[in-house]
């Protein structure tokens, strides 16, 4: 789960990282009030869960409360990469003398956290990683030991940070690491960490990604989820315990298991080409019950692009008869004329197939193999079944 900039910075502040004294506005009037309270020049920053908002015109300086109001008025409601801006952060403008990157994330290959710093702050770190990898210094962290002072010094020394900033940098690095572990984050990043003309270090922008698997023990963070920014289907899918990602093809897929779901998508593209392809990724998970299957089908059918539906179930924990019953239940509630292809295999596949056949639904076709199922679904989407 991604946090907004303002949420990440609130969290940083809680762990002792200096951040600008700004606040969030949802209306131009609020933006005016905040800018007036802060005084001086402010930055108005769109709060959207996507990169590149600067280039899209989502970050602007305002020299007066009036200008802040006017800019907020422009930015609020703006669409950036498909997302509507609903909040702006009004921060006092900083007097920037230098920009650093500082981030903690999981290194899956090493199996441990890694903290990275770069003197090339303010730009996308992925770009720095590609173009100038030597500009990023890394320290792996033993999860039992935590970030040690000498590691922070190794970073400070590695990015040639002037020595007068080492203590402040070290405190911020430690706080960031603590924030990362205590928040069950998979990423906690300050970019840029600026050195102000006054010689202070301050986190001007921040980003946190929280481990979805740990939200059960992070109720405070779980509440920060920006459901307004999500599609209705995404919210429904999460509530039902389904993994769902909308894509732009024409074949709706319902599969058990992420790997098999991706494979099924791959098959629709293999046999259907770019024109047809998968309309979504949808993993019903292990041991799916009929209710869950029905919800999944409703979500798939709510996409108007869907020209055919492909069910691919290889039963293990999941029982094919349960899935078959779920499909019938969903179809009784949401009748549809979209052609459907179903392939059941594994645990209770025979029973499942019987249930489907006995229901004699005209637009529901059976397939034996995944290949056959994918080919039929492509044909159906093209109106050729």
């Amino acid at each position: 789960m991604n946090l907004h900039e303002y949420q990440s910075k609130m969290r940083f502040a809680k762990f002792g990282i200096p951040v600008p004294m700004g606040r969030v506005a949802t209306t131009p009037q609020e933006a005016y009030e905040i800018a007036r309270e802060l005084g001086g020049t402010v930055v108005v920053k769109a709060q959207v869960l996507v990169g590149g908002r600067g280039k899209a015109g989502g970050v602007k300086l305002a020299h007066s409360p009036e200008e802040a109001e006017q800019i907020a008025n422009q930015i609020l409601g703006m669409e950036i990469k498909g997302l509507i801006v609903r909040r702006v952060l009004i921060d006092p403008a900083a007097n920037i003398a230098g920009e650093i990157y500082l981030g903690v994330t999981n290194d899956r290959a090493a199996g441990k956290p890694v903290i990275m710093a770069s003197s090339e702050g303010g730009v996308e770190i992925e770009q720095v990683a590609r173009e100038k990898p030597e500009a990023i210094v890394r320290e792996h962290i033993d999860p039992f030991l935590g970030l040690r002072d000498y590691q922070a010094r190794n970073l400070a020394s590695g990015i040639n940070l002037p020595r007068e900033h080492w203590k402040a940098f070290s405190r911020i690095a430690t706080a960031l690491y603590n924030c990362y572990t205590a928040s069950d984050a998979t990423l906690a990043e300050i970019n840029p960490l600026v050195i102000t003309a006054e010689g202070q270090l301050i986190a001007l922008d921040g980003k946190m990604v929280i481990d979805d698997n740990a939200l059960f023990r992070q109720p405070e963070l779980a509440e920060m989820r920006d459901v307004e920014a999500e599609a209705k289907e995404t919210i429904q899918a999460r509530a039902a315990g389904l993994s769902y990602v909308k894509l732009d093809g024409q074949i709706g897929c319902m599969v058990n298991g992420a790997g098999l779901a991706m494979t099924t998508m791959d098959m629709t593209k293999l046999y259907g080409g770019d024109d047809v392809g998968p309309a979504n990724f949808l993993d019903i998970g292990g041991g799916a019950q009929a209710d869950k299957v029905a919800t999944a089908l409703r979500i798939i059918l709510s996409d108007p692009n869907v020209k055919s539906v492909l069910f691919n179930i290889f039963g293990g924990i999941t029982r094919c008869d349960e899935v078959a019953r779920g499909i019938l239940q969903a179809l009784s509630e949401v009748p549809t004329t979209v052609p459907m292809v179903i392939r059941l295999n594994g645990t209770n596949a025979k029973e499942g197939r019987e249930i489907i056949e006995n229901a004699r639904i005209p637009n529901l076709h059976s397939a034996e193999t995944l290949t056959e199922a994918a080919q039929k679904a492509v044909a159906a989407a093209k109106g050729a079944l």
């Binding site: 899956r108 740990a214 999941t318």
Partner: protein
Amino acid sequence: MAILVDKNTRLLVQGITGREGSFHSEQMIAYGTNIVGGVTPGKGGEWILGKPVFDTVKSAVEATEANATIIYVNAAFAADALFEAIDAEIPLIVCITEGIPVQDMMKVYAYLQHSKSRLIGPNCPGLLTPNQAKVGIMPGYIAKPGNVGVVSKSGTLTYEVVYALTQAGLGQSTCIGIGGDPIIGTSFVDVLQMFEEDPETEKVVLIGEIGGRAEIEAAEYIRKHMTKPVAGFIAGRSAPEGTRMGHAGAIVEGGEGTAAEKIEALRAAGVRIADNPEQIPDLLR
């Protein structure tokens, strides 16, 4: 021979009295797996499926001489179950549990490095040596004995491939799902090495997916060390970059871990890559 599990496996089930634990224990017993007991805190002294239940892994190991354990414990308590199994020095730990927080797993991983245990998983279907032992949740009937070693990041996709092999008359030495989480105990490379050394395994199938660098490392290993033929499949060619596909492991990280990149590396290492998992038996002939 096979690898990791066989007729000599003496299996403990952590979480045996839970819904999933008892369901799959029953299946494993039906398959012929030698389950010697289970662990559920607070239920020591009871019996389930004809097997004794213990309060702690330590007491269970003392009483049963278990040499493997499988964990069906809820994600919130899974790390504790893992530490307990490691502390009891059980040589093989298989963790089925899905959704373990990654901060927990990083600690488990660090602890594991200096232990006497090997971990398979978490968030994996476990492993199966046909007609000898099923340690996990794979449907038993899809497999048959033979000499193809199967290793996979995925769950149901593995069943798909194993089923296709069996249908084509190609039996398996051992089938292993290593799990698709960001932090797992046993990597592709570890398993490839075991298959390379196992006299009963003649051919190997590797099933990967987008995200991470495990398949790239596998390609490297295959190029340098494997003498046995390897066929493979990589799921996720149609996935758009930067989109999460269920598995935490399936995030495309900063240009790394695309299907195309992995397929290229594996092909360069001499692995035959299928476009469709049902083609794999053909590639092995």
